[in-house]
């Protein structure tokens, strides 16, 4: 299913917030309405999170529901697993994408498969918040894009919001879902403001059209959505009409939504920050090929990070797809 973006400022119940504030508000509303919900992670309590996303939550809901953990991601996710088994609905945080690696055993060996293992009698309802991707000049292991690693694990769902409205409502929705949801927050977009319409979430399933167009579809997610929309606006100067699809849900992928757009345009470019090999660009390209073989005007192009460890801040502009690299990808598809 696809839907169009909620028009900015059109609805009186909307409020202008940054993504950071929208996520904070979502957790406040969850903690206030669901006594089984808990927020925990490194520095989420007293400090309010390194990005202020959990600011004020411990003061409002107490140190027994908003918990500062030791610096041990395996322990954070181990605790989340136990709490979910006991019927709680935890919202753990790993402070940065690269810090999820020490917790992979808990995620893959326990959290992802406990419901399967128990024949559906023990759902592991939780949302793991992962500040993700690059763009803030951070050190190594603070700018990773691990969505394909997570999407490859049966039992996990993966979602990545791209603006404050999506951040608020997708976090609320993820909290209501029966499966463990990996919630990948684009940290370079934490400070960007947009209207959050609390009463009108819109369709929260699948992808959405972030920019309408006719000649070519760019499929992306997270922080790259804003960049793809910029590319679409520049392409219009060259009389090339680009549709930008914000995939949002990366596991499961919105097959029908992606296919509908590319069936219309005939060309697709997938953009992601993650390394190219075995990235989600390959999965989406194959999915489109299966469904639209013979109907596309060009092979699915990929504009991605390189097959190297995500570099530290000084080199990240060379690594993360920029406007020109995306335009080159678009041109390769147009020229085919």
């Amino acid at each position: 299913m696809t839907e169009t973006l909620v028009p900015q400022g059109a609805v009186p119940t909307a409020q202008s917030l940054s993504t950071q504030q929208a996520l904070n508000r979502a957790m406040r509303d969850i903690l206030a309405s669901d006594p089984k919900s808990l927020v925990f992670g490194e520095d989420v309590g007293k400090l309010g999170g390194v990005f202020r996303v959990t600011d004020g939550l411990q003061a409002e809901f107490g140190a027994e529901r908003v918990i500062d953990t030791p610096l041990a991601e395996s322990g954070i996710l181990g605790m989340a697993a136990g709490l979910a088994m006991a019927g709680y609905r935890p919202i753990p945080e790993v402070q940065f994408d690269g810090f999820a690696y020490p917790a992979m055993n808990q995620l893959i060996s326990q959290i992802a498969r406990t419901n399967y293992r128990t024949r559906g009698t023990m759902p592991m309802q939780m949302v793991l918040r992962i500040p993700s991707y690059g763009g803030i000049r951070a050190p190594e292991l603070h700018g990773e894009s691990i969505e394909s690693t997570l999407a490859h694990v049966p039992g996990l769902k993966v979602v990545s919001p791209s603006n404050p409205h999506q951040a608020y409502h997708l976090l609320r929705k993820a909290h209501e879902m029966p499966d463990p949801v990996m919630f990948m927050e684009p940290k370079s977009r934490y400070w960007n403001r947009g209207d959050v319409d609390f009463d009108n979430p819109g369709d929260l399933a699948g992808s959405l059209v972030a920019h309408e167009g006719e000649d070519l579809t760019i499929i992306t997610w997270g922080a790259m959505v804003a960049k793809a929309v910029e590319v679409a606006e520049l392409a219009a100067e060259d009389e090339v009409s680009i549709e930008v699809i914000d995939a949002r849900w990366l596991k499961p992928l919105d097959e029908e939504g992606l296919v509908a757009s590319v069936a219309k345009t005939g060309r697709a470019v997938v953009v992601h920050e993650a390394p190219r090999t075995a990235g989600l660009g390959a999965e989406i390209g194959q999915l489109l090929t299966e469904r639209l073989w013979g109907r596309m005007q060009a092979p699915v192009e990929r504009v991605t990070g390189y097959d190297v460890p995500t570099p530290a801040g000084d080199l990240e502009d060379e690594y993360i797809p920029g406007i020109d690299r995306i335009l080159f990808g678009v041109q390769r598809s147009l020229e085919y």
Partner: protein, 106 residues
Amino acid sequence: MAERSFPLPDLGEGLIDATILEWLVEPGQWVERNTPIVEVETTKSAIELPSPIAGTVKTLHGEDGDTVNVGDPLITFEVSDDEAGIVGTVPQEQKKERRVRLSKKN
């Protein structure tokens, strides 16, 4: 706006406190990161401490001549809600700049 407080840091050499010689900033003043904010004297030497962040000074915890223990509050800043996290920087809005032009195949 949010507040952030900083304690007297461990100045090394096993020293447990320091005496404020002179504040170099005053409440209401905007300071950049690494601007000297206070001169303190330990039993070893007198040193200037740099500001750990950019922000507006809200409170000075102590007056000239007071002794402050390592770990006790030294200074409180008022900072914008849009401040960067503890790691990294807030990305600046960049102008859309391009070198690549597109052309449709004829």
